[in-house]
């Protein structure tokens, strides 16, 4: 990544100037306003703040670099509520996203859950400066997960089975799960499940896993491709009422960056070759004891997929 010290210094100086001048600014940071355009042709790739998304972004970045496209990495920005406005404002150009959650972000009333339907609706609801490339078969859903012991003891296989226990269950998940439509509100609406309490932890990270393991929470929101699920022998509860919509991996890109045909071609190839089993295996490898460099994991996968 290139970030010149001088540019930063100038930016800081300019910012001080603004501060000293006492200028008030825009009161709504989500309002669309032009950001500094990236250098001609450079694709600024962003990612959310969890490992798998960062890896997908790294795969995009590495593949594009191999094709001679200049890229800039802006990984670990936060949740969708943070990176999407940045994408919309042109501060970043490309993110790997997931169709179902993206749809509910764009339209909280959306009810589509089937993969194609979700994809279509996202495409229709995206702001005009953004474009959805073809989606991958690879899917990574949020899921309600419990420990094997808790599942056996209470005879649980689906979220429906959990309903009668909800008033006694502490539920753990990322802070945003409390408000997102598929989160606590969705579980309440579709399954009539009101938990004893919600513990705000992290997005499929060590806090949630540890809290589930040590009994701080009895059920938690984890990602279906998470390596910690097989590692800890956790049980993913079925979702018969489709609270969690289809979540296919999909590149969301600034339209201005699709003029270079290499960009879309490369990303499409990646989406075609990736599937859920491979994504799960990649997550497991990243979490393995030897802690491989994600850039290496990305390169290895691109090689094995024949993209170079």
């Amino acid at each position: 990544m290139t970030r010149s010290p001088r540019a930063l210094l100038l930016a800081a100086l300019a910012a001080v100037g603004v501060l000293l001048a006492g200028c008030g600014g825009n009161s709504d940071p989500l309002a669309t306003q032009p950001a500094a355009p990236s250098a001609q042709g450079t694709v600024r790739i962003g990612s959310a703040n969890f490992t798998e998304n960062r890896l997908l972004a790294e795969i995009y970045a590495t593949a594009l670099e191999q094709k001679g496209v200049a890229v800039e990495r802006r990984f670990g920005i936060g949740s969708r509520e943070t990176y999407f406005p940045a994408l919309q404002r042109g501060e970043i150009d490309l993110v790997p996203d997931y169709t179902g959650n993206l749809l509910q972000f764009l339209d909280p009333q959306a009810t589509a859950t089937a993969s194609d339907q979700v994809y279509q609706q996202v495409g229709a609801k995206l702001p005009p400066n953004l474009q959805l490339l073809p989606q991958s078969a690879a899917e990574d859903k949020d899921a309600v997960v419990v420990t094997r012991a808790f599942a056996t003891q209470n005879n649980l296989t689906s979220i429906e089975d959990l309903t009668r226990l909800c008033p006694t269950v502490s539920f753990g998940g990322p802070p945003e799960f409390q408000q997102r439509p598929y989160g606590i509100p969705g579980l309440q609406r579709l399954y009539g499940c009101t938990f004893k309490e919600f513990r705000a932890l992290d997005a499929g990270g060590p806090l949630t896993v540890a809290a589930l393991r040590d009994g701080t929470v009895q059920a938690a929101d984890l990602f279906t491709t998470d390596a910690s699920i097989p590692q800890n022998d956790f049980v993913v509860l079925a979702d018969p009422r489709s609270n969690f919509a289809a979540q296919n991996v999909v590149p969301v890109i600034n339209r201005a960056k699709t003029s270079d045909p290499r960009v879309a071609d490369t990303l499409n190839q990646i989406s075609q070759r990736m599937d859920t089993a491979q994504l799960t295996a990649l997550n497991a490898r990243l979490a393995g004891p030897d802690r491989p460099d994600p850039a290496q994991v990305a390169r290895d996968w691109l090689n094995s997929a024949g993209i170079r």
Partner: protein, 211 residues
């Protein structure tokens, strides 16, 4: 150097720039404000408590509010930089005022008697004498700045803090520890630099010690 999937050199450069530039700019802003507080009891009554209050705002909140107020890009390092400038100014205004207060009246009176005007008095007499106290304040601001830069990693602003947040996500202790040790080492290196700079600017102090 590459480790844990990151270009460490780049993280170090970002960390240093983000920590040092705001401290220097903060000092530049704090000097006139501190001087004003030194001269005017009224200004001091406002400036000192105000800077104390600014210092209590949690850093994550400041980093997120700056784009809200100034319209800067959400992902801009400027948000972290401005946050640190605010903390530095908050910390140094009082230091500067007290450093100037500590210059003995006999010295200032003598300087005025030989024809120093206020600005000349400040730059030629008071500031040089205040350097030791200023250096002490600057060192505190600098050390805490190196530590606070890491909070930016929560909003995707790169620094050694990135190793902490990402290492945490990946449940990777060595990565977190590397970020911590690196951040401390950088803070110490610059602490030594400020100290050396302060000494270099006050040769008379050393001469006196030598007597």
């Amino acid at each position: 150097m590459r480790a844990f999937g990151y270009d460490i050199d780049e993280l170090v450069v970002d960390h240093v720039l983000l920590a040092v530039v705001p401290v220097v700019l903060g000092l530049v802003i704090a000097l006139p404000l501190g001087w004003w507080a030194h001269l005017s009891p009224g200004a001091r009554r406002v400036l000192v408590p105000l800077s104390g209050a600014l210092y209590t705002i949690p850093s994550l909140a400041l980093i997120v509010f700056i784009p809200l107020v100034l319209g800067t890009p959400i992902l801009s390092p400027v948000n972290v930089g401005l946050t640190l400038i605010i903390y530095t100014v908050a910390l140094l205004v009082r230091s500067v005022a007290e450093a100037l207060d500590a210059v003995p009246d006999t010295v200032t009176t003598a300087a005025v008697a030989v024809g120093y005007r206020p600005v000349g008095l400040l730059l030629g007499v008071q500031l040089p004498l205040a350097v030791p106290v200023l250096t002490a304040g600057l060192r505190v601001a600098s050390v805490s700045s190196f530590s606070l830069v890491t909070v930016g990693a929560l909003v995707g602003i790169q620094s050694l803090g990135t190793l902490m947040t990402d290492g945490f996500q990946q449940d990777y202790t060595a990565m977190v520890a590397t970020g911590i040790v690196g951040s401390i080492l950088l803070a110490f290196v610059f602490d030594a630099l400020w100290l050396a700079l302060g000494r270099a600017l006050t040769p008379w102090a050393r001469a006196r010690q030598g007597v």
